[in-house]
C-alpha cells in the first residue's frame, strides 16, 4: 500500500532544487520590505505621535489575525483591480512572484516592527542617555550603542520570522506561482498523482533542511555578535596556547 522509491525521489530532488531560487527570491524581497517599513513602524510605535502610534498598533493587530492565504488572494486579485481603477494601468501580465512578495511583505512589516520594537526596548534606555551625555550625537548613540545590542537580541526572532516567511510563501502556488511548492504540485499532476509520496517527501525534506540551515546560520551569527562569547573565545585561545606551550606543541594528547 505504501511504496517509496528512493531512485525516483532522487530524480525529483534535482527537478525541484532549481526552483528553490524563486523561494529565496521572494523571501529576500519580503524581508527587505519588512525591514525598511518595519523600522518606520517600530519608530511609530515607540514615538509620541498618538495617531501614528495607534495606526501602527492597529495595522499589526490586523496583520496578525489575517491568514496568509487570504492576504495572498487579496493582493493578487485586489491590487490589479485598484491599480486599473486609479491609474488605468493593466497589471495582468505581471509575474506572480511580485504579488507574493507584496503580500508577504505586508505581513512581515508587522512582524518585523514588533521584533525591532521589543529588541530596542530590551536595551536599557540609560545607555542611550549615557552615550548622549558623553558627547555622542543621537544618531551616533543609536548606531554605535543601541543598534548592535538590539540586533543581537533580535536574531533568534529574525530566524523564526524567516522560516515563517518561507513557509507562508509556499501558499503562492494557489495563485499559480512556480516556486519549489508550485513545481512539486505541477510534477504531481503531470505524473497523475502516482509519485505523490516521492515528490512531497522530497519537498518536505528540502524545506526542513532549509529551515535547519536558517536556524543554524542565525545561531552562528548570534554567537559571533555576542560580547561574552568574544571574551570567552579569547580566554580559550589563551588557555589553549598555554597548554600547547606546556605540552610542547601537542594540544590534544589522547
Amino acid at each position: 500500500m505504501f511504496r517509496y522509491r528512493l531512485d525516483v525521489a532522487w530524480e525529483y530532488l534535482f527537478k525541484l532544487l532549481p526552483y528553490l531560487s524563486v523561494t529565496l527570491f521572494y523571501m529576500g524581497g519580503a524581508l527587505t520590505i519588512g525591514i525598511v517599513f518595519g523600522a518606520f513602524m517600530a519608530m511609530m510605535k515607540l514615538g509620541k505621535n498618538r495617531p501614528l502610534k495607534y495606526f501602527a498598533i492597529g495595522y499589526t493587530a490586523v496583520m496578525r489575525s489575517l491568514p496568509p492565504i487570504i492576504l495572498i488572494f487579496l493582493v493578487y486579485h485586489g491590487v490589479p483591480l485598484a491599480v486599473r481603477r486609479m491609474f488605468q494601468v493593466n497589471l495582468s501580465g505581471m509575474n506572480t512572484v511580485y504579488f507574493v512578495i507584496l503580500a508577504l511583505g505586508l505581513s512581515s512589516v508587522a512582524t518585523l516592527s514588533e521584533i525591532m520594537k521589543s529588541a530596542y526596548l530590551s536595551v536599557s534606555g540609560g545607555q542611550y542617555e549615557a552615550a548622549v551625555s558623553n558627547g555622542f550625537t543621537p544618531f551616533q548613540a543609536f548606531r554605535r550603542i543601541m543598534f548592535p545590542q538590539a540586533l543581537r537580541v533580535s536574531i533568534p526572532n529574525l530566524s523564526s520570522a524567516l522560516i515563517i516567511l518561507m513557509k507562508e510563501g509556499s501558499l503562492g502556488y494557489t495563485i499559480g506561482l512556480i516556486d519549489i511548492m508550485g513545481r512539486a504540485d505541477l510534477l504531481n499532476s503531470t505524473s497523475y498523482g502516482n509519485d505523490i509520496y516521492e515528490i512531497f517527501f522530497t519537498l518536505a525534506a528540502i524545506y526542513w533542511l532549509a529551515s535547519i540551515l536558517i536556524d543554524g546560520g542565525c545561531h552562528f551569527i548570534e554567537n559571533r555578535l555576542s560580547l561574552e562569547r568574544k571574551i570567552e573565545l579569547n580566554e580559550i585561545k589563551k588557555a589553549g596556547m598555554i597548554a600547547a606551550a606546556e605540552q610542547g606543541g601537542i594540544v590534544r594528547g589522547s
Binding site: 491568514p67 518561507m166 524545506y207
Partner: protein, 235 residues
Amino acid sequence: MVLDFGFMKSSFFLALRGIPVTLFITVMTLLISIPIAFAIAVARAGKKRKTLNLLFSVYVSAVRGTPVIVQILIIYTMLPDLLKFIIEKLALPFNVYAINNIFYAILIFSFSMIAFLSEVFRAGLRAVGRGQYEAALAAGLSGFRAYTRIIAPQAFSAVLPVLCTSVNNLIKTSSLCFAIAVNEITGIIRVAASRNLHFVEGFLVIAAIYVIICMAVELCFKILENKAKVHRVSA
C-alpha cells in the same frame, strides 16, 4: 464603484455558515493536542531522557520546518491508505472513504499543534521549576497530585499569552482546509467567489471575519489571564 456590495452581503451570510466548522476544527484540535502536548512536556522534563529528547526534538524541528500545506498533502494521502490497510488486516466492517474530511483536518492540525504546544508547555514547566515538585512530594502529595494541583496551574498561567498566539495561529491555519475540500469559512467563499469571479469582495469579507474571531479569542485570553493571576509564578 467596482466592489459588488450585494455579493459582499450574501457572502457574509454564506461565511457565517462556515464559522461553526472553523471553530469545531479549532476546538477539537486543541482538545486532542493540549493533553498530549502536556504529557510530552512532562515526560521530557525528567532527567536522563536522551533518546526521548532526541526523538521529540527531531519531530518538533520537522513540523516547524515544513509548510502546513505540505503536511496536509502528505498526511491526507497517506492516512486513508494506512487506515485501509489496518482495517483490511483486522477485517473490520468499516468504510474508510466514508470518513468526513473534517476529521482528517483535525488529525493533521493536531499533528503540528502537538509539536508547538509541547515546546510551549516545556517552557512553562521550566518557569515553575523542579523545586516545587520536590517540595510537593516532600509534603506528602503523590506525583500525579503534585502535577495537577501545584505544577500545572502555574505552568498554564505562565504560558497563557503564548497559548493565545498558538490558538490564533491554529484558526489562521485552519483556512488551509480548502486544500482537502472542507467547507469552512475560506472553502465556502473560495467556491462561491469562483462562480462569479468576485474574489476581492469575498475575501475582504472573510478577512474581516477572521480579524473579528482572532480579536475575540485574544479578549477571552485577556480575561483568562486576569483570572489566572493568582497562579502567576513570582520570578
